[in-house]
Structures are given as C-alpha cells and as structure tokens.
C-alpha cells in the first residue's frame, strides 16, 4: 500500500512549474490591462515587488558565518528597493488627478 502511494507522489517541482506557468499567463494578461498612462509607475512597482527576493535574504541571516553576511547585504539591498519602489510609486500615483 505504502509503496503504491509513494509511486503516486508527484515531484513538487511539477506543481511549481504549473504555478510558474499560470503566473506567466496572469502576468501577460495583467500587464496588457495596464493603461499606458501608468507605464512608468508600472516599472517602479514591478521593481518593488521583485524585491520579494528578500525572503531568501532573511532566511540567510538566520545562518552563521559568511552566509549571514550575504543575507545582511541582500536584505539591505532589497530593502532599498522595497521602500524606494513603493514610495516612489505612491508619489507618482498621488499626482494623477481627475478634472475638477
């Protein structure tokens, strides 16, 4: 029984591939739906969210020795981007106003 179950277990890589593939579709559609007037904020915000790489950096800090140093540098760099990216986007978006 257990043996059968084991052969039936799918490598999580395949799931990740599915997630990645679908996310590419979502990205394709969602970016085409962005209005051209907001393409500059789009660049800034994608910048900010790509810094979610910080999740790897934070885990690295929990290690020891040089890995921790790598983690520290990576966290700092990503933090510049996160704060800078979201705030500059917010600043830009605050400028877009309707008539009146």
């Amino acid at each position: 029984m257990l043996a059968i179950a084991a052969t039936l277990i799918v490598d999580p890589f395949v799931f990740r591939l599915a997630i990645f593939t679908l996310a590419c579709f979502v990205g394709y559609f969602v970016v085409w739906s962005v209005t051209p007037a907001l393409h500059t904020p789009l660049m800034a915000v994608t910048n900010a969210i790509s810094s979610v790489i910080i999740v790897g950096a934070l885990i690295a800090v929990s290690a020891h020795g040089v890995t921790r140093e790598f983690g520290f540098i990576a966290t700092t760099l990503a933090a510049v981007n996160i704060f800078g990216g979201f705030l500059v986007t917010q600043r830009m978006l605050a400028m877009y106003k309707k008539k009146g």
């Binding site: 999580p12 997630i19 990645f20 996310a23 590419c24 990205g27 394709y28 969602v30 970016v31 085409w32 739906s33 962005v34 209005t35 051209p36 907001l38 393409h39 500059t40 904020p41 789009l42 660049m43 800034a44 915000v45 994608t46 910048n47 969210i49 790509s50 810094s51 979610v52 790489i53 910080i54 999740v55 790897g56 950096a57 934070l58 885990i59 690295a60 800090v61 929990s62 290690a63 020795g65 890995t67 790598f70 520290f72 990576a74 966290t75 700092t76 760099l77 510049v80 981007n81 704060f83 990216g85 979201f86 500059v88 600043r91 605050a94 400028m95 877009y96 106003k97 309707k98 008539k99």
Partner: protein, 468 residues
C-alpha cells in the same frame, strides 16, 4: 506551520497580482499600490516567523531594513520625476545583486533553506536553478549599472562596439554553461563549488557589461525594461530553488511585465527587439540628407503664437522629450489654463513612445496637475487633429514625423505617428531645426502652415504666457 507559510506566500503573490491589476486605471492604482505593500509585508513577516532567527539575527535584520529602508525612502522623496529612467535602472541593479547574494547563501548553507540532501549535498536540479538565478541576477546587476551610467550621463551614450563581440559573448555563454556543468558535478560541496560559483558570477558580470555597452544611450529605455524582465526571471529561478510561491508568482509577473513593455516600446518605434539588443543604433544614423533645394522656414515669436491660440477654438498639445528636458510641464499647464479662460478647448495628445520611457509624458503632466481626463492616447485623439485649429508641439519631433506614413525609405516608416499636420496651424517649440532621437529630419518644419518657435521650451512657454 509550513502549510500555513505556503498559504501566506500564495496570498502575498495574489496581492501582487492585485497591485498590477490596480494599474489598469488611475482611480484604482493607489489602492493597488497598498495591496502591493501588504503583500510584501506578509511575505516578510511570514519569513521572519518561520526563520528561527536568534536575537543577533533579528537585530541584523532590523539594522538592514533600517539602513535600506531609510535610503530607499530618501531616494523616493528626493528624486526628480525627469530622472525616473535612471532611478529604475539603479533599482534593478540592486535586485540583481541581491539575487546574487541570496543564491550564494543557498549554496553556502543549503541546510537553512531546507534544500540539502541527507548527506548535505545539493540536488542537480537545485544547483541548476541556483546557477540560473545567479547568472541572470549578475547580468541584471552589471547591465543595469551600465544602463544607469548611460542614462545619468556618467558615461557617454555612444554605442561602444568591440571587435568580434558576438563571438566573445557566445564564448562567455559557453564558459558559463561549462562552469554550471562542473558545479553540478561537485554536488555543490566544498570550496571548489564556491570558487566555481564566483567564477560563474564573474562571467555573468562581464557578459552583462558587454551586452549593454554596444547599445546607444537613447535605446536605454528598452534595455531598462529588458533588465526589468531579467530581474523577474532571476527571482523566479530562485523561487524554484527556495520553493517559494511568492517568488515564483512575482518572478513571472515582473518577467512578463518587462518583456511586454520592451515589446510595446519596440512596436512604438517600429524597430525589432533584436535590432535594439544587437546595438549600434545612433552611430550609423545618417545625417538628414541635403537634397539641394533651399527650403524656407516660417519662424514665429511668442506673441504670434499667443495671438493665434487665443483666437483658436481648439488646441491640441503634443509634448515630447524636449518638454521633459526643459522641465516645461508647469509652464505648459499654466498656458493651458490661460487658454481655457479664453474659452479655448485644450487637449493633450500622447504618443506611446514620446519622451524616453513608457508613460514618461503622462507622469510629467500629472506632476504639473494636468487632469488625466484631458490627456489622450494616440488612437483616441488622432482623428481629432483635423478639427483642431492649432497643434502645439512642444519638444516633440519624431512622433509627429509624416515620413513615417509616406516615406518608405525612412527608418521610422511604419511607426504610428500623431497627425499634427491635419490641424489648421502646427507650432513647434524646439531650440533648433535639428533632428530628434531617430536622427532624421522632420519635413513638417518647412510646410506653409507650420510656425517654428525656436527657443528652450520652458522659456518660450513662459513668454507665451506673458503675451496671453
């Protein structure tokens, strides 16, 4: 616990999708940005809760967040809107470098990421993903640094064409693939693996530099967007290594976004992406051919322009790169207000590649408080020039060039342009009769119904305002 974390990363990915979805209109964009922040906060907190940080580690994280956050916040507040292209390039370089260090951490201490085999070695699959991540990350880093330097003027925008560059590039790629092969053979163990890793990084850094230096400064926006895309793919590759859904989703989103923006720019310029990436543009651009015929230009003064516009029924303003350079958007907005007070209908027409990055003009006009419902995209306004009395072209050139429609030998032939020539009078504000980005002459300058207002855009508009 891990299940909960995986769920939360999914939530964070969905929030990022919502952040981009918000950008479909200015009304929803601010809320979208908040979703994005929430997603990032969730991702960070989930990781912290999960990472078993010691007190020292926690302190380190706080210090890093403080330093980075402060720097980011200061930059975000201080940066001039006209410097956005550079800023975006600079930010990309940081993401790239960050990815390199995260990949290094995964190689040095796979156990904290829970990706090691029972004997402490690394799977072939993880090693390949990790190599992809570090390679793309390093290319993003060095490429973005060059792009930044070219855009910021720290480096000449002239394309630097090295001899045999394609062969060198291919050799570098081959070398990188070879390094990855040996790295896989080491199972990621021992200092030899570390050395291979840093060699790979070095190769990628050089490759990134060589990739960007042959591309002319003016093509940098496409490059920046392409690097944006790369930073996304690097994140996605590491998402596979670190088995993190938020990274996977975000990587795919950012990767698509950059690719699509590059595509939009290339289409707006009617050039192929390959020709942009191959570089050399701007160097070979032929000088406007002199056909021997002496042509006359009608120059005008600010007073003439003010008089004509005051008596017009409808004026369409076409801003371009020159408006950004001259920072003329505030003066322009004032002019529009003065005209509206005179009962003139004023609209703005934006070409998709006006300026030097996508949406460049929109953000500058927004900065000057121009309401966005006065601002129209090419498709929506191109049919209106026929009914306009004045097309007021300020610092734009290529995007109004009729050669794109009627001269098959022109390098911009086939690119959609704003048909300003259909308006009663066309006014051009620029400093000379010189060419624009594409390096070609604009035949409109010599037409009868064209009036050239030769001066810096800001000064000229201020003079017009005085005359109004």
């Amino acid at each position: 616990m891990t299940n909960l974390a995986a769920l939360l990363y999914l939530v964070s990915g969905v929030l990022f999708i919502q952040a981009l979805r918000g950008l479909s209109s200015p009304e929803t964009a601010r809320k979208g940005n908040l979703y994005g922040m929430a997603g990032m906060a969730i991702a960070i907190l989930t990781t912290l809760a999960h990472a078993h940080l010691s007190f020292g580690g926690t302190m380190l994280v706080l210090v890093a967040l403080f330093i980075g956050g402060t720097a980011g916040a200061v930059i975000a507040r201080r940066i001039a809107m006209t410097a956005m292209p550079q800023l975006v390039a600079a930010f990309h370089s940081l993401v790239g470098l960050s990815a390199v260090f995260v990949a290094a951490a995964a190689l040095y201490s796979p156990e904290v990421f829970g990706i090691e085999n029972a004997d402490g070695s690394l799977h072939m699959q993880s090693l390949i993903e990790l190599s992809l991540g570090v390679f793309i990350g390093a290319v993003t880093f060095s490429g973005s640094v060059i792009a930044f330097a070219k855009l910021n003027g720290n480096m000449s925008g002239k394309p630097i064409i090295l001899p045999k560059r394609h062969i060198v590039n291919l050799a570098l790629l081959g070398g990188a693939a070879f390094l990855v092969l040996i790295l896989v053979a080491t199972h990621g163990e021992g200092s030899i693996a570390h050395t291979l890793f840093w060699l790979l990084t070095l190769v990628a850094l050089v490759f990134g530099v060589l990739l960007i230096i042959p591309i002319g400064g003016a093509d940098m926006p496409v490059v920046v967007s392409m690097l944006n895309s790369y930073s996304g793919w690097a994140a996605a590759a590491l998402g596979f290594t670190l088995e993190n859904t938020a990274l996977l989703i975000t990587g795919a989103l950012v990767g698509s976004s950059g690719a699509i923006l590059s595509y939009i720019m290339c289409k707006g310029m009617n050039r192929s992406f390959i020709s942009v990436i191959m570089g050399g543009f701007g160097e070979t651009a032929a000088a406007a051919e002199d056909d021997g015929i002496e042509r006359t230009v009608k120059r005008g003064a600010a007073e003439d322009a003010a008089f004509i516009m005051k008596n017009a029924g409808k004026v369409i303003i076409v801003p371009g790169y020159g408006m950004a350079v001259a920072q003329a958007q505030h003066a322009l907005k004032e002019m529009a207000n003065l005209l509206k007070e005179e009962g003139v209908e004023v609209k703005y027409a934006i070409h998709p590649v006006a300026g030097r990055m996508p949406g460049h003009m929109n953000v500058l006009l927004a900065e000057a408080d121009v309401p966005y419902d006065d601002v129209f995209e090419l498709e929506d306004i191109n049919s209106e020039f026929g009914s306009a009395d004045v097309a007021f072209v300020i610092g734009a050139n290529d995007v109004t060039n009729p050669a794109a429609e009627d001269d098959p030998s022109s390098p911009i032939y086939g690119m959609p342009v704003l048909k300003v020539w259909e308006a009663g009078t066309v006014m051009f504000i620029k400093r000379s009769l010189g060419a624009g980005y594409a390096g070609i002459e604009n035949p409109l300058f010599f037409r009868d119904n064209t009036m050239m207002l030769l001066n810096d855009a800001k000064k000229m508009v201020e003079e017009i305002n005085k005359a109004l």
